[in-house]
């Protein structure tokens, strides 16, 4: 437990120290969201209708930023060998690293999304709903991404392969994330139904992602 706490603290310190990928993925998120109104034109009705989808799409893409370095950086400098020598199980190591990564990328993204919702003309209710779905759904994205990151840890330029491997697996999360945000705006489905499924997806991804990423790291050794 002490080992895992130290690992989370170290990754948070690293993210803060080098500017980290957290801030970068937030800026990338902002970029995509800001580009959409330029592409579609100032049609506020259209923007507010597709706003949640844009935010979710941007969230999925910006999750990929920095994900390729999740295990690769530790693999390159030998820290990963240090971690496999720890009494803590490798699954715990993966869980701690993913948690730290989510705290520096997914969480800021969800918290900042109401602000970015302004750019796509979301009203207060839709903003709150989208932020909530991102909060519940981004852990699934990070855990799924961690599996890809573990698989490509020892590949020199694994970032693109990572995206190709991981993006299809993020589709279910995207579908339920967007449908939950939209059902908050009205419609026949109550808000909580897709939200509950989204939460379930995050929990499932948490279990499967942790085990699969640890297995991938062991296998690559």
């Amino acid at each position: 437990m002490r080992a895992l706490r130290a690992l989370v603290a170290r990754d948070l310190a690293l993210a803060a120290r080098v500017g980290g990928s957290g801030a970068l993925s937030l800026v990338f998120f902002l970029m995509i969201v800001a580009l959409v109104p330029f592409a579609l034109g100032p049609d506020l009705n259209l923007l507010s209708r597709i706003g949640p989808a844009i935010l979710w799409l941007a969230a999925v893409l910006s999750t990929l930023i920095g994900l390729d370095r999740l295990f690769q950086a530790d693999e390159e400098d030998g820290s990963l060998d240090l971690m496999t020598g720890s009494p803590a199980p490798l699954e715990g190591v993966v869980l701690a690293k993913v948690l730290a990564h989510w705290l520096t990328t997914g969480l800021p993204l969800a918290l900042a999304s109401p602000l970015f919702g302004l750019l796509v003309a979301l009203d207060g209710r839709a903003m709150a709903a989208t932020a909530l779905t991102l909060l519940v759904g981004t852990p699934a994205l990070t855990f799924v991404g961690a599996v890809g990151a573990a698989l490509t840890a020892s590949i020199r330029r694994g970032g693109l392969i990572l995206a190709v491997v991981v993006l299809p697996l993020m589709i279910p999360t995207l579908i339920f994330g967007v449908s939950a945000s939209e059902s908050a705006l009205g419609g026949t489905v109550p808000f909580t139904t897709p939200l509950a499924i989204l939460g379930a997806l995050s929990l499932i991804a948490g279990v499967i992602g942790t085990l699969a990423a640890a297995a991938a790291l062991r296998w690559s050794e």
């Binding site: 706490r5 170290r10 310190a13 690293l14 120290r17 030998g78 820290s79 060998d81 720890s86 009494p87």
Partner: protein, 216 residues
């Protein structure tokens, strides 16, 4: 602890690196691994650390209680496991918390290696020799019975080599084991020597010999 390796053989990407290596180490004993570049010294250390699976042969440990082999060892090699943005102290404190069984504080360990002044410096600012000394300080912050050192004196000055020799002597006096791949004398008194013989053939002949194996 007691470490026994029996008939180890390793094959990587279809190429036989070495085969038939055996040795046994008891408490306080040391082993130096020598051989020309590319003979498989680092590979052997990787097998002992559990990062590579041998093709044949076994590595067994005894007298360590319930710990597994990878929980009994320190590795200091070319990839030093240090994070450049973090200070030397943070790196060592992290290693201590991660590996458990703390013995010395990061400050005491660094001072032992003559790097007390670098405690608060990011590792990125240190020279290659200083980085290596920070990595070696990890040996002191938590106790593990087996030290696997891959060319530990690389980039070290003469004074630091003496400090390292002293560290290894004390570790062995306390019943620890040292296995070092090296090209230089490390000051290890009465250490066993394991020489990994070259697969004999020069490159051209080897590719002929390998023609009957399928690899590309």
């Amino acid at each position: 602890m007691r470490l026994t390796a029996q008939d180890l053989a390793v094959r990587r990407s279809g190429r036989r690196i070495f085969s038939g290596l055996s040795f046994a180490l008891g408490p306080g004993e040391a082993l130096t691994i020598t051989g020309r570049n590319g003979a498989g010294k680092s590979t052997l250390l990787a097998v002992l650390a559990g990062r590579l699976k041998p093709e044949a042969g076994t590595v067994t440990v005894a007298q360590v209680g319930e710990a597994t082999l990878s929980e009994c060892l320190h590795v200091v090699g070319h990839r030093d496991g240090l994070k450049s943005p973090l200070t030397a102290e943070e790196n060592l404190a992290f290693a201590r918390d991660l590996l458990g069984a703390p013995t010395a504080s990061p400050r005491a360990a660094l001072e032992e290696l003559g790097l007390g002044h670098a405690l608060r410096l990011p590792v990125a600012y240190l020279s290659a020799g200083q980085r290596r000394r920070v990595a070696l300080a990890r040996l002191l912050v938590c106790r593990r019975p087996l030290w696997l050192l891959d060319e530990p004196t690389a980039a070290l000055d003469a004074a630091s080599q003496d400090v390292l020799a002293g560290m290894m002597a004390r570790h062995r006096a306390a019943g620890g084991l040292v296995i070092a791949a090296t090209h230089q004398a490390l000051g290890l008194a009465d250490a066993q020597d394991l020489r990994i013989a070259a697969p004999a053939a020069p490159a051209a002949a080897r590719s002929m010999a390998a023609a009957d194996e399928v690899w590309w």
